[in-house]
Symmetry: C2
Subunit: 366 residues, 2 copies
C-alpha cells in the first residue's frame, strides 16, 4: 500500500492506494462518531457494498442508501434522497458519510456531507479510474443543473480516500478509457516525464496490470494533490486541471449528461485545446500527433460529436466557471508538460478549432 | 451610522447600522464583479426593491428574483429557483447575491451563494428585527427539511450587512415581538447589564423609537459578533446563542413551519429553559419572574402550544443538532447573563418542565 498526504493545513487528509484495501477497515481510524451512512449506486452495491459493510465491524450504526447509476441522476433530487435517509435514521452532526462508487457518487456524497447540518465528515471509496485520479482528490463536490455541469456545489475535504485497485477488474472498458483521459491530462499539463512513462505503459494500463495501475494512479493523485495544495479554492493554478474540460463540458451538456462519459468528452476536448495551442504557435505539429496518439491508444475519442456546431460550443461555453466578466478563458499548452490559463487568443483561431471537426482526428506528422 | 466589524480573519466583514441606509449604496464598495442578483420576497419587493435597485446606480447588471413569503417556503425548491435565475441570466463566479428581506430570505440567499459555482459573494440587507440581530450575523445559511429546521445548509460569511432601521416601520407587530425575543436572549445569556437596559427601554422598543432600536440592534449584533468571532463553526460557546431554540424548533416543527414565528417559538422555548434552570437550582424564582415579565412585555408567548405533549417534544428534540451520540444537550442559565450548554440534567426534571404546560405563564414571585 502507498499513502499520499494531501497537505491542506488542518483539512489535510491521506489517500491510501493498494490492492484489496476495501476489506481492511482503513477508514475506521478516520470516523469520529458512531454513525455511518454508506452512499452507493445500483451498479456498485451488489459488487462491493456487503464487503465494505463487513469491514466496518460491529462498532457503528451503519445505514445505506442506494441511488440510481449515472451522470443524469447527479442532481438535487438525489441529494435530497440522501438527506431523507440521514434524517430518517436520525444521524447527528458527528456522522460520517462514505461514498462508494464513481465520481458521481463521490461528488454527491461530498456535497450532501457539506450541507447536512451545515457540514459533516465524509470518506471516499472511489471505484473507477476517473474518480480515483480526479474527483476523489481536491474537495470539489456538487451536482449538475440542466443549464450547466457542476454549477451547484461546495468545497468540502474528505477525512480520507481509500483507493482499492482490485475493484477496477469489474470496470467496463469505456469507463477505463474515460479514466485514462484524466491520467494523460496530468502528463500533458504538468509532467512531461510522466507522459513518456504513459506512452510506454499504455498497453499495461489497458490490460489493468496492477503494478502499472497503482503507479499511474499514485502519480496522478500526487500531481493533483500538489496542484490543489497550492490552490485549494481554485483561484489560479488549479484551473490548469481543467485542460479539455471547457470544451468537454459543452459536449456533455449538448449530448445530454450520461451520453458521453466525462472522460470521453475530456478526450475530445483535450484534442481541441491541443489544436488551438498549435494554431497559436505554442506547440509543434509533432506534439499534436503525440497527444492524438496517446489519446487513441487509451481508446478515447479525439473529435467532437458531429452534431455540434461552433455556435453550440460558444453558447454552452459562455456559462463556464472560468468565464470572468464575459471573457472566456481556456487551459492551453505552452509545451507538453506545461499548461496556462489564458483569455489571450484571437477569437478567429478559436473559431477555426471549433470548425475543424474531424480534421482533429486526421492530423499527420509534420 | 454605526459600524461593527465582525472579526473572522480573512472572512471579516462590517455591519452598518443606521437610519435610511437603504438608499446610500454602501454595499457597492463590497461588490467585486459586475453582476448582482437581488433575492427578495413578495411582501418586501413592493416596499423596498426599487429603492435598493436605484441605490446600485448604473454600474452593474442587476437581476432580481422574488420568492413567496414565509418559513414554509424555506426549502430546496426555492433555492433551485435562485439557481435557475442565476443561470438564465448567466451569472458567473464573480457575481454577488443580495438578500433583501427577513431571516428566511437571508438564510436562503446565503445558502444559494454558498453553493452556486461552489461559492460566490453575498450581501445581507435584513428587513426584520429578527434577521437584523440574528440571522444576518454569523454566516449560518440554509433551508428546512420536513423532518427538521435548518437541517441543510452551509457556513458562508457575507461581504457586508446593511441594517436600515427605517424599514422596521412597515414591520407587523408579531414580527417585531419575534425579533425582540432574540434581543432579550442576548441579555439573558451574556449581558445582565443589557438585560437591565432592555427592561427600562421595552416601551420605547415596542414604539419603534429609532434611538432605542439602533442601540438594541447594535448591542445585540455586538454580542453575537463577539460570540461568533470566538467560535465560527459552532463547536462550543456559539451554541449558547441557541437558548430556547431546541424547545422552540420542536414547537415550530410540530405546529408546521410558519404557524408560530421563529421568535415566538423561541420566546416559549426560552421560558422552558428558564424553568429547567430553576428546577436545577441554578437561578431563583425571582429570576424566573424577571424573564417571564420581559418576555411578556415584548408581547411574546411564554407557554408552549397546548396541543403538544412531552412525547412530542422528546421526539422532535432527538434530531436537534446539539444531540451528540444520542445525548440531548440544552442551553440553560447559570444566572441571568450567563448560560451553559449541558447534557447534565436529570431526565425527570426535563420531563417536569415539558409537563408544566401553562404553569410557565403563571409562576408568581417568591
Amino acid at each position: 500500500m502507498k499513502t499520499l498526504n494531501v497537505d491542506l493545513g488542518e483539512r489535510s487528509y491521506p489517500i491510501y492506494i493498494g490492492e484489496g484495501l476495501l476489506d481492511q477497515g482503513l477508514m475506521c481510524q478516520h470516523i469520529r462518531g458512531k454513525q455511518v451512512l454508506i452512499v452507493t449506486n445500483e451498479t456498485v452495491a451488489p459488487l462491493y457494498l456487503a464487503r465494505l459493510q463487513a469491514s466496518l465491524g460491529e462498532h457503528y450504526q451503519v445505514d445505506t442508501v442506494v441511488l440510481p447509476d449515472g451522470e443524469q441522476y447527479k442532481d438535487l433530487t438525489q441529494i435530497n434522497t440522501i438527506f431523507d435517509r440521514l434524517l430518517e435514521c436520525r444521524h447527528n452532526r458527528t456522522t460520517t458519510l462514505v461514498a462508494l462508487g464513481g465520481g458521481v457518487i463521490g461528488d454527491m456524497t461530498g456535497f450532501a456531507a457539506a450541507c447536512y447540518q451545515r457540514g459533516v465528515d465524509f470518506v471516499q471509496v472511489p471505484t473507477t479510474v476517473l474518480s480515483q485520479v480526479d474527483s476523489s482528490v481536491g474537495g470539489k463536490t456538487g451536482v449538475n443543473h440542466p443549464q450547466g455541469k457542476n454549477m451547484i456545489g461546495a468545497f468540502h475535504q474528505p477525512q480520507c480516500v481509500v483507493i482499492d485497485t482490485q475493484v477496477l477488474n469489474t470496470l467496463p472498458e469505456r469507463e477505463l478509457a474515460a479514466g485514462l483521459a484524466e491520467v494523460i491530462k496530468y502528463g500533458l499539463i504538468y509532467d512531461a516525464e510522466f507522459l513518456d512513462w504513459l506512452e510506454e505503459n499504455m498497453d499495461a494500463l489497458n490490460a489493468r496490470e496492477p503494478e502499472a495501475m497503482i503507479q499511474a494512479i499514485y502519480r496522478s493523485c500526487e500531481v493533483k494533490a500538489e496542484v490543489v495544495a497550492q490552490d485549494e479554492k481554485e483561484s489560479g493554478i488549479r484551473a490548469l486541471l481543467n485542460l479539455g474540460h471547457t470544451f468537454g463540458h459543452a459536449i456533455e451538456a449538448h449530448q445530454g449528461y450520461g451520453q458521453w462519459l466525462h472522460g470521453e468528452a475530456v478526450g475530445a476536448g483535450t484534442m481541441m485545446a491541443v489544436d488551438l495551442s498549435q494554431r497559436l504557435g505554442w506547440i509543434s505539429a509533432d506534439d499534436v500527433v503525440r497527444a492524438r496518439k496517446i489519446l487513441l491508444a487509451a481508446k478515447l475519442p479525439v473529435i467532437a460529436p458531429d452534431n455540434m456546431t461552433a455556435n453550440d460550443f460558444m453558447d454552452l461555453m459562455a456559462v463556464d466557471k472560468k468565464v470572468i466578466d464575459g471573457q472566456l478563458r481556456l487551459v492551453l499548452l505552452k509545451q507538453l508538460g506545461e499548461a496556462v490559463v489564458t483569455a489571450d487568443f484571437p477569437a478567429a483561431m478559436l473559431e477555426q478549432t471549433l470548425a475543424a471537426g474531424d480534421q482533429l482526428g486526421q492530423i499527420t506528422s509534420a
